[in-house]
């Protein structure tokens, strides 16, 4: 994966030079260890600022919404699935995009590493299989990448982009995992335990809306929480209002979420709100055989009606 960047830069420079695209959406070196910053490159001479490593977890599809230009975008498996969803939902045209597909082996969870070291992290390096961090105490610690990935990456079953114009490297092997053990654990709780679980889960929320804004699916011109007439939900810190926001945000992602992990990654207080979207994802798979963002030619589960759709609810 460390060699991907050469191909990303070469392809980006070529596309810009040829005028095939007006801009490239990728990552540049961040100012923080284990953080890269999404960026936009317009000139071929600037492609050297692009980087690629295990800290490119942000979903770049977010930066394509409603754009009019011809754009090259660097897309991991999850980004590519969100691009497919964007195309289905008319947020961008397929013809506008040149998708540089990146076979992905997972992005690193910086908080997990920060929790496991003493002191503050000052430097980070990596090999194909390991992450090496140096701390303010001068210690160097090494972690196997596989052990410090974002949780959604460890459960990813579409690491290779599903839609691309060029693949940056050879496809990686896909994983076979049970994606829903955490959802099943919550389902197994009693009603009272579940109530407590979700109250505790959302207690630290400060309603900064980073989860919503980091999500490529959340592109409504005015979000329901921001509506004033009518006001659907209180805007303060009342626990019920906070939970209403999370519940409805998740429900708006039903049949669309690719579990890219952007929401959890962005949360400044570390809430795993993915347990909501994953429940919806699980129900979509089990009831409709639907996984979001696999093909621009298939209409989504909530957009179609079949006579044999299960309908236990409607009497």
């Amino acid at each position: 994966m460390l060699t991907y960047i050469d191909e990303i830069r070469a392809a980006s420079a070529r596309l810009l030079q040829e005028g095939a695209v007006e801009m490239v959406v990728g990552f540049r070196q961040g100012s923080q260890p284990m953080m890269n910053e999404p960026c936009l490159i317009r000139r071929p001479e600037d492609v050297d600022t692009l980087v690629w490593d295990s800290h490119c977890g942000i979903n770049l599809t977010n930066y394509l919404t409603n754009r009019k230009e011809k754009i090259a975008v660097i897309a991991k498996g999850c980004d590519a699935r969100n691009i497919v969803t964007h195309i289905i939902e008319n947020k961008i045209e397929r013809e506008q995009l040149y998708i540089l597909g990146v076979p992905c082996q997972g992005m690193v969870d910086k908080r997990q590493i920060a929790m496991r070291v003493a002191g503050e992290i000052t430097e980070v390096g990596e090999s194909d299989t390991e992450i090496r961090v140096q701390t303010t105490r001068g210690e160097i610690q090494t972690f196997a990448k596989a052990e410090v990935l974002q949780q959604n990456c460890t459960l990813c079953t579409h690491r290779n982009p599903v839609l691309y114009d060029a693949l940056i490297a050879e496809a990686v092997s896909e994983q076979t995992v049970d994606r829903y053990t955490d959802v099943a654990a919550i389902e197994a709780m009693t009603i009272g335990e579940r109530q407590q679980y979700f109250q505790d889960l959302f207690a630290p929320c400060i309603r900064c809306y980073a989860c919503r804004n980091a999500c490529p699916l959340c592109y409504c011109p005015t979000c329901f929480v921001d509506e004033a007439q009518p006001q659907w939900v209180g805007k303060g810190q009342d626990a019920v209002d906070v939970m209403t926001f999370h519940f409805l945000r998740a429900y708006h992602c039903a049949g669309r979420c690719t579990d890219c992990g952007a929401c959890e990654r962005a949360c400044p207080v570390g809430i795993n709100m993915r347990v909501l979207t994953k429940k919806l994802e699980k129900d979509c798979v089990n009831n409709f055989g639907w996984e979001a963002g696999l093909s621009p030619d298939v209409r989504p589960a909530l957009d179609t009606f079949n006579l044999d759709d299960p309908d236990k609810l409607i009497k």
Binding site: G30, S31, Q32, M35, N36, E37, P38, C39, L40, I58, N62, Y63, R111, M115, G119, E120, T122, T136, P204, I206, R207, C208, Y209, A210, R212, N213, A214, T222, D226, Q231, G234, K235, G236, Q237, D238, R265, A266, P268, V269, G270
Partner: protein, 356 residues
Amino acid sequence: MIKKIAKDEWASGLSKLAKTYRLFGPVAERGPDGARTFHNFKALAPGELPDLDLGNTRLSAKSLVFPQSEAMFTYTLDEDRDDHHILKEVPADGMSRVAFGIRPCDAKALAMVRMNFDTPEYKDPYWLRLYEATTFVGLACDAPCPTCFCTSTECGPYHEEGLDLLLCAEGEGLLAKAITEKGERLLADAGWEEAADQDLGARKAAAEGCITSRIGTDQLAEGDLLDLHGADFWEDVAFACINCGTCTYLCPTCWCFDIQDEVFKQEGQRLRQWDSCMFPIFTVHTTGHNPRDTKTQRVRQRFMHKLKYFVDKYEKGIMCVGCGRCVRHCPVNIDIRKVADLMNRYTSDAAKAEQA
């Protein structure tokens, strides 16, 4: 005069204080596995000690005097009641409070926010009554984070502005330096009276020496406001921004709020909530027009307010204390240090070009 607080006197002093004060301090939030994930300021439960073994709290200390949601008034629309359609002030909790473990950056920020809430023309009763009821007990930073740049913001790891009392770790116990009369009173109330033959000067210098991150702000006041507003870098700075409220909600100096009414049947309350200039609805007019309609305009507003408008209006430096929270927790790595340098350099380049 520096006082010494031994480990066992710390707990006994706190329980003495709990009789007359409400105590607040950093408390660790815990992850599902029970490990400490981060610290926030909370009311301390009886017998609970503030957890002073922390880098800095995830959220700033501003919520102690400026809660994220605060009820200002209640009212009823029920015309059978005599007091219908009359705003009634929510009664204040008059009890004195002590807030422990405030880092000097957050304390300076409180002094800075006061310039907004306590002016000769307007005094914000909600903010002031909490501010005046609170004794602020600082905790000096002997191990600042790599993202701390407080020495560039007329602050520092032992800065005393905004504090009544400054604590620093000393072996198993603490040293305490009273800064105001409020601080002296607190030491007496807690029974922490043993004098320590120490000076904090050397420790202060050592801590300041540990700060590795610096920003340049010397040119900001000189620069032309409109030039800076029209600078060519704003689109690049703002590109990655997702317009969430992380930076503004974690910031100790961001003071913007919104006032909302919530009504259920006939009963209503008027609430003050934190607001954020990053949100598109922050400036929407009732006509539907939004003067800051684009992300770039909103990002520029945040940085121009902190690093230019405030500088020009108050002539007290920048509206940033260098705590580094927005840098550490921005989901897309927008870094105020980088933007400050861009703005500062832009101004100095413009000045040079003019001379040439």
